[in-house]
């Protein structure tokens, strides 16, 4: 008997387990820092630093100008950061507006049920069945181009998938005993939506909002590139790209490469932040 008892041991793991969770936290921290640095740098660059320097036009990448210079000698690194800054502002704005719509409609549908839920689901299906880019171009043109057009265009096309996710979660919470008990205590639907349901959708809401951001900035850049978005005098990445098309055939590759790659990198970074937050929230994968 004694031998058996002695053999029972609590498994001793290492004190600090470097798992998926820790990696995710480090990735989020790193990328969030880069993101914030770009934002701060972009807001600090004064407009007149984008100077014309005709002695230095079309300089290829060098130490003085890591991203090269353009057709009037402006430093492409500065232009890229300014462009990213604008894109990121638009991306954040679009993500937040889409998320607000998604959380309102995603909760309202199941809570009020009946016709309201039917109409909301129908709207989601409708918007999802139409190609995004087409709608954004149409809305952008209808709003006379510019910032407003893009923000409205991206928002009306990007609230849908998050609405679906939130709606599914709300359907579950709505069936929980504590929400039903709350009804029997005479609590209003508004109270239940705010106090019982909303705390449960916060994780999905955060992940969803972060994941809308890359879509938003890529859409903005492509619409602007096509000429339906921001006007040519804005320091946008889309504008830089369409401008650079004129010089690409003459071998000025850096005009398009660095701004384009930076934009893609930023959107991949944010996508990665979103996925990592998702991993942390989803406890099942957190310790695999």
């Amino acid at each position: 008997m004694m031998e058996q008892v002695e053999r029972i041991q609590v498994p001793q793991g290492p004190l600090f387990k470097f798992g998926v969770r820790e990696k995710a936290i480090i990735a989020i921290g790193l990328f969030a820092t880069v993101f914030i640095v770009i934002l701060i740098a972009g807001s600090l660059i004064p407009e007149d630093s984008l100077d014309v320097d005709l002695y230095n036009i079309f300089a290829s990448p060098s130490l003085a100008h890591p991203f090269g210079t353009d057709w009037v000698g402006t430093d492409m690194l500065l232009r890229t950061i300014t462009g990213l800054y604008l894109s990121m502002k638009i991306g954040i704005f679009c993500a937040v507006t889409s998320a607000i719509i998604a959380v309102l409609l995603g909760i309202a549908g199941p809570i009020f049920g009946g016709k309201i839920d039917y109409v909301i689901s129908w709207l989601v299906d409708l918007v999802l069945s139409v190609p995004h880019t087409l709608v954004i171009i149409l809305v952008s043109i209808a709003c006379g181009g510019g910032l407003t057009g893009i923000v409205i265009g991206v928002t009306v096309t990007h609230w849908t998938s998050l609405t679906r996710v939130i709606r599914a979660e709300v359907m579950q919470v709505k069936e929980m005993e504590y929400t039903k008990i709350s009804r029997k205590f005479g609590k209003s639907k508004l109270f239940i939506a705010r106090e019982h349901v909303f705390p449960h959708v916060i994780p999905q809401l955060v992940v969803g909002t972060v994941l809308i951001f890359p879509h938003a900035i890529l859409h903005e850049a492509s619409i602007t590139f096509l000429g339906f978005g921001l006007p040519p005098h804005e320091p946008a990445i889309g504008v830089i790209l369409s401008e650079s098309m004129k010089y690409l055939t003459s071998g000025k590759w850096w005009l398009a490469f660095f701004p384009g790659a930076s934009l893609v990198l930023v959107s991949m970074m944010v996508e990665n932040i979103g996925r990592n937050i998702e991993k942390i929230i989803n406890q099942k994968t957190a310790y695999m």
Binding site: Y178, I181, K184, G186, P199
Partner: protein
């Protein structure tokens, strides 16, 4: 005031088997009625129907002597079998306790709820501690009937006695009718004026006037 179930039949819509068939049941204000049946006989289902959480497939539940209100505090309150499902895991205990209004301090003390539990999350309390919160929440002046579905099944005898003591004292004082649902004949024998059994010669049919003392002499 009387809570009456008339010829209630019920099936969960996806399958065709009736879980309850032609059940008649009634309880008066101030009465403590036991509802006895083994596991799986539809006790919880009947409790949900009586408290208005489920609509019967046929038959009806009427509350005589009380004008019906669709919204507002329900006069028939159900205490669920599993307290951990009956509280929102994202709420602190203080908020859970006061959802239907903060109960008076002497009631909280009588129920044995400690101040130190108030700032915890539901997962940080034991089932018995949680169930005290669920019980005290329905002890309100507006409650006319309490349906206690296996309210203390997973608790030890002392805790069971404490909780029932508080609930029954409150019910007596405010003339509340209590339906005690359990498969524990001892408990039902101790607390009930009258016992109804879901089992019998004909399964699923309650014969409303089996007297308490017939059921079990073993307690």
């Amino acid at each position: 005031m009387r809570l009456r179930a008339e010829e209630i039949s019920f099936k969960y819509n996806n399958n065709d088997k009736y879980i309850l068939e032609d059940i008649d049941f009634s309880i008066e204000s101030g009465e403590v009625v036991g509802l006895l049946a083994p596991s799986g006989y539809g006790k919880t289902t009947l409790a949900k129907i009586l408290a208005g959480y489920e609509k019967p497939t046929s038959g009806q539940v009427v509350l005589e002597g009380c004008e019906s209100r669709n919204n507002g505090y329900a006069p028939v309150q159900l205490i669920f079998q599993h307290p951990e499902k009956a509280v929102n895991p994202k709420w602190k205990m203080r908020k859970i306790l006061s959802e239907a209004g903060m109960p008076p301090q002497e009631l909280i003390d009588a129920m044995g709820i400690k101040e130190s539990w108030m700032d915890r999350w539901p997962t940080e309390l034991s089932g018995g501690e949680l169930q005290r919160f669920c019980c005290i929440r329905v002890l309100s002046e507006q409650t006319k009937f309490i349906i206690a579905d296996e309210m203390t099944t997973m608790l030890d005898a002392i805790t069971q006695a404490q909780i029932w003591n508080v609930v029954l004292t409150y019910a007596k004082k405010h003339n509340i009718g209590v339906v005690v649902i359990s498969h524990d004949a001892c408990l039902i024998n101790k607390v009930c004026d009258r016992v109804v059994s879901l089992t019998g010669d004909k399964r699923d049919v309650i014969s409303p006037h089996i007297e308490t003392n017939q059921i079990s002499a073993s307690c």
